[in-house]
């Protein structure tokens, strides 16, 4: 396969920043989140340290391909120093932009990174009694990319009726593909309920 990766991604893959090396249990953090599974081939785990409403440190570990590792590395650099609100506003597109683009088949790596960070921040909210700041996630349809039922329903509401169109937006089913049936069934049900043709 030809190099489809940008120089920036290659650099982050070769020289990853902020990896949590050594004994995990010795690292003091305020929130931790993990997404993905071994079957999909990607697992990302992110630890955040929060001081006065800002992310003062962000460490990570990733099992996955070069773009998964590069995405987590660049994300950790992007969010250190940001306020929680600013960090939560980071989107997969921001990660892609920061990496000077990702190959089409690897977009899900940036989606995973984003979800792992969110999950770590929500863990901090949970631990500090700020449950009200965690948005209701809802039932997860695509385990690999943590795409929820309500996200799929929103897509149908917006007029996306095919699995492919919804996959394009949410990246559901782009890792192991095991949720295709469930997503297709959800589309059918949401269409019925929505009364669209």
């Amino acid at each position: 396969m030809a190099w489809e990766y940008s120089e920036k991604l290659k650099d982050h893959f070769r020289n990853p920043r902020n990896v949590l090396l050594g004994d995990e249990s010795k690292f003091e953090y305020d929130g931790v989140g993990e997404v993905g599974n071994e079957q999909c081939g990607d697992i990302m785990k992110i630890w955040v340290v929060i001081r006065e409403g800002r992310i003062s440190d962000c460490k990570w570990k990733t099992y996955g391909c070069a773009s998964a590792i590069g995405s987590t590395s660049v994300l950790s650099e992007m969010v250190i120093g940001k306020t929680i609100e600013e960090a939560l506003a980071v989107t997969p597109s921001d990660i892609q932009r920061e990496l000077d683009g990702l190959p089409g088949a690897k977009i899900h790596c940036s989606v995973l990174g984003d979800k792992a960070l969110r999950s770590a921040i929500y863990d901090y909210f949970r631990k500090t009694g700020q449950i009200d700041r965690i948005p209701a996630e809802g039932e997860i349809v695509c385990e690999c990319l943590r795409v929820t039922k309500s996200e799929i329903e929103q897509c149908v509401h917006d007029g996306l009726y095919s699995f492919e169109a919804i996959q394009k937006r949410t990246k559901a089913g782009t890792a192991c593909g095991g949720c295709k049936e469930a997503v297709t069934a959800l589309i059918a049900r949401a269409k019925e309920r929505g009364g669209h043709s």
């Binding site: 396969m1 893959f13 070769r14 990853p16 990896v19 090396l21 004994d23 995990e24 249990s25 993990e34 071994e38 079957q39 999909c40 081939g41 990607d42 697992i43 990302m44 785990k45 990570w60 570990k61 990733t62 099992y63 996955g64 391909c65 070069a66 998964a68 590792i69 088949a105 690897k106 782009t174 890792a175 192991c176 593909g177």
Partner: protein, 392 residues
């Protein structure tokens, strides 16, 4: 240092092959022409055919040149199950049945699927943990309408050699045709289709130090196959189109070289491969060797590294100048990891973490040492950042 350990993907042109091409550059004649130009080209083509035939110990009149292994495999599967009115097989029975295995090359699997769309039935035989098809499974799968069995001789990903001789003993008594895709075996181990008892055998040039775009198909003269490419009398009407003379000449030179050096090369390669395998096991914990311990190509080593993903290993090694391949889904562009490793019963994690080292004619001991050092570093680095790897 640059080290190429992806010889099952393709091989460099041997010096002898390059010389043969250079010498033939001026022989531009069409081998079908009757004049001196044509006769000269024909002579070179037939000389090369003789050399390729000698490599597998067959009569040159039973060997046709094709564009490569994929074409040879396509023509056998599509050509024997042809449903056109003129095809003797189509007339003999209604719905044809094909038996193949789950670990074949995609060009065999997809051709079989294509024939399923055309109405044929296909059985995909399972394999054991080493990637071998069981003769009992084949015996049970043969039906009255079974026309063709296609089982590879050696697997490209793990190197496992199938018990083809045992399998053909079963098809012969049921008068079922047997095809073997031998692209990975020919040139690495002795291959003789008569000895194996097969009816068709596929060979590829670029797997044995010849260029891409040239291959061959051997089949018994009396067997009928509908050609894929028609509209010319070339290759005795079995494959139309003006011969790829330069490719054929190069293929001949490569076959001659392979025949001459196969015995010593097999010893040299298996010694280096075994050392690579043994040292990886000694130096790197949590690895799994994939493939049959004995019935395996001398040049192939497939290893799964737990807790890490193959594409990242591949690129980290690539940065160090080392070329390997992986069964990880991430590098194939598909969602699933290697169909071969999954068929062998590996879980997704081990399949994603698999790396194939395939040695070749130009591999040296120094290169193996370099790979061992770099590999140990790369696996340690990737494991240090893997959330799956247990803490030290």
């Amino acid at each position: 240092m640059r080290v190429y350990l992806d010889n099952n993907a393709t091989t460099p042109l041997a010096g002898e092959v390059q010389e043969a091409i250079k010498e033939a550059l001026g022989s531009f004649g069409n081998p079908s022409s009757s004049h001196e130009y044509g006769r000269q080209a024909r002579e070179l083509v037939e000389e090369a055919r003789g050399k390729v035939a000698a490599l597998i110990n067959v009569d040159p009149s039973e060997l046709i040149f094709t564009s490569g292994g994929s074409e040879s495999n396509n023509v056998v599967i599509k050509g024997t199950i042809c449903r056109s009115g003129s095809c003797v097989f189509a007339k003999k029975q209604g719905r044809a049945h094909i038996i193949t295995s789950k670990v074949e090359h995609p060009c065999v699997l997809e051709s079989c699927r294509c024939m399923e769309h055309e109405g044929a039935q296909v059985t995909y035989l399972p394999v054991d943990e080493y990637g071998r098809v069981s003769p009992d499974d084949l015996k049970d799968a043969i039906k009255d309408n079974t026309k063709l069995v296609s089982i590879m001789l050696a697997n490209n990903e793990v190197g496992t050699i199938q018990p083809v001789k045992e399998l053909t003993a079963l098809t012969r008594e049921r008068k079922v045709l047997f095809h073997t895709d031998a692209v990975q075996a020919v040139g690495k181990v002795p291959v003789d289709p008569y000895e194996l008892g097969v009816d068709f055998l596929t060979i590829s040039g670029h797997k044995l130090n010849a260029p891409k775009g040239i291959g061959a198909l051997w089949f018994r003269n009396k067997v009928h196959v509908c050609p894929l490419i028609i509209g010319g009398h070339q290759e005795w009407g079995r494959r139309a189109g003006t011969e790829n003379t330069l490719g054929i000449i190069a293929f001949g030179a490569a076959a001659e070289l392979a025949l001459k050096t196969m015995k010593e090369e097999a010893v040299r390669l298996s010694r280096m491969r075994d050392r690579l395998e043994k040292t990886i096991i000694e130096r790197i914990p949590d690895v799994k060797i994939n493939g049959h311990p004995e019935a395996r190509l001398p040049n192939t080593l497939n290893v799964s590294f737990k807790y890490v993903e193959g594409e990242s290993i591949l690129y980290m090694l690539d940065f160090e100048g080392i070329a390997v391949s992986t069964g990880s889904a991430c590098s194939s562009g598909s969602l699933e990891p290697s169909h071969v490793l999954l068929a062998m019963g590996l879980d997704h994690g081990l399949a994603h973490g698999s790396v194939r080292f395939s040695l070749g004619r130009f591999t040296t001991d120094e290169e193996i040492d370099y790979v061992l050092d770099k590999l140990e570093e790369v696996i340690a680095r990737l494991r240090a950042m893997s959330p799956l790897c247990p803490q030290n």
